[in-house]
């Protein structure tokens, strides 16, 4: 690496800043200053499509007499966000046997008695089965060894709640009140759902963020000094109150840009006056105000669906970009 590369990296290191504006359990907003748009976009794309999560993929339906069709029910189950760290699990490919390292098994059994009113099946009725599937695989030939356990759809070697991560916090959906289906009297749903690890690239149910987006900081510049009446008019024009009045002695007023961050770029402040004023009094505001965006200041927002907290999601996304670079380097060597 030449001297020039390290100079650039040093320049980046000196100018790059991160400022967290808001951080809660499920979402965060932070500013990245001094980075290029291609990197910010790369992080956004990785957050949406390449961070793995667990989601229900296979649904084994034993009984479904509800109005919701099997496939619609399976689709809805897949979209339920699960509160589990996907880093504890491995990917499962086509030839793999479902075991405790790559599958999470849930059971749902709900029925509405005859005579009662309609009930809602909520996501808290999804029961976690740490020992694996309970549905047995039916085979034509009778079991050779009557004492052996019948084969089920998964082969768990140990119970998942013996693992330290899950012993005190059981796996379940993030939200308890998601309506999966509604049952009328006499209808029943009995099914088993298997959740596996996947990426948003394959299906959006595996995306760990509700969404994540960035916008560049708006820059509002006053091209001339705006005083007096015109200043008052400008302050009134902005729907999000970007401008403010400043007193500069002797009763004179001046307009200043107080809150550029809340600007939505609606361009109301540079719209020339129309019919509401006489022709001579109309002002062409675009010679007073210029609207731009700061090219390297990104206001990032990440809304997590609950599997991982948002700050961990961003860290993992950066790690994934590093892994991609590493893969290219090994391919080239």
């Amino acid at each position: 690496m030449g001297v020039d590369n390290s100079l650039r990296l040093g320049h980046f290191r000196d100018n790059f800043r991160v400022e967290v504006v808001r951080l809660t359990e499920d979402d965060m907003e932070f500013d990245m200053i001094g980075i290029d748009a291609s990197l910010a976009n790369a992080f956004r794309r990785i957050l949406l499509a390449e961070l793995p999560t667990m989601a229900i993929e296979k649904v084994l339906i034993a009984n479904n007499t509800s109005v919701i069709q099997d496939e619609v029910l399976a689709h809805r189950l897949g979209l339920i966000p699960l509160k589990v760290d996907p880093r504890m699990f491995e990917y499962m490919s086509e030839n793999d046997v479902p075991n405790e390292k790559n599958t999470i098994v849930f059971k749902l059994h709900s029925c509405c008695e005859r005579g009662s009113s309609r009930i809602k099946v909520l996501s808290n009725e999804l029961q976690w089965l740490p020992r694996g599937s309970e549905l047995t695989v039916s085979t034509e030939k009778p079991a050779v060894d009557p004492t052996s356990r019948p084969r089920t759809y998964t082969s768990f070697n140990c119970s998942q709640d013996s693992l330290p991560e899950f012993s005190n916090n059981p796996i379940g959906p993030k939200h308890d009140d998601i309506i999966i289906a509604k049952l009328g009297p006499g209808q029943e749903i009995e099914l088993e759902a298997h959740a596996v690890k996947g990426m948003g690239k394959t299906h959006a149910k595996w995306s760990p963020v509700a969404t994540s987006w960035y916008r560049m900081l708006p820059e509002v510049v006053l091209l001339q000094e705006i005083e007096g009446e015109i200043a008052e008019e400008l302050v009134k024009k902005c729907p999000v109150k970007v401008f403010d009045i400043e007193d500069i002695g002797k009763g004179r007023k001046r307009a200043t840009v107080a809150r550029p961050r809340s600007c939505t770029l609606c361009r109301e402040c540079i719209r020339p006056d129309g019919k509401e004023k006489e022709k001579e009094q109309r002002i062409y505001w675009d010679k007073y105000v210029a609207l731009r965006r700061v090219k390297d200041h990104f206001i990032f927002t990440i809304e997590s669906t609950g599997a991982l907290p948002p700050e961990m999601l961003f860290t993992e996304a950066v790690k994934i970009l590093e892994d991609k670079c590493e893969r290219v380097i090994t391919e080239l060597s």
Binding site: L39, A42, C325
Partner: protein
């Protein structure tokens, strides 16, 4: 996969599989920062194929070396982003917990 000439190593097209704009645009950015690069760009031959062609032309150094250096630069940038971000989150959490203590019951 590198498509270039054995005689002139300073120009080559690298065809990366299972990649898309995520890595290619970031690599193009870091490649452009390198003073040894005279031309660099990327294209996606077909959106249904996950394949990216990155073209690098340099002032004499072998193109694969320059691409490797840019990948390493990108990794260093990512590591710096990660550490700055983690620090900012820790500072924010400390500041907020301090505020919560100061506000009092």
């Amino acid at each position: 996969m590198e498509h270039g000439s054995y005689q002139d190593q300073s120009q080559a097209t690298f065809s990366l599989t299972d990649e898309d704009h995520t890595l290619a645009n970031s690599l193009r950015f870091t490649l452009n920062q390198d003073p040894r690069v005279t031309f660099c760009g990327y294209s996606i031959p077909h959106p249904s194929d996950a394949r990216v062609n990155i073209r690098v032309q340099t002032t004499g150094d072998p193109a694969s070396e320059v691409l490797k250096d840019s990948c390493q630069d990108l990794m260093l940038i990512c590591q710096h982003v990660r550490s700055t971000f983690d620090q900012a989150v820790v500072e924010f959490k400390n500041k907020n917990s301090l505020d919560a203590i100061n506000i009092g019951p």
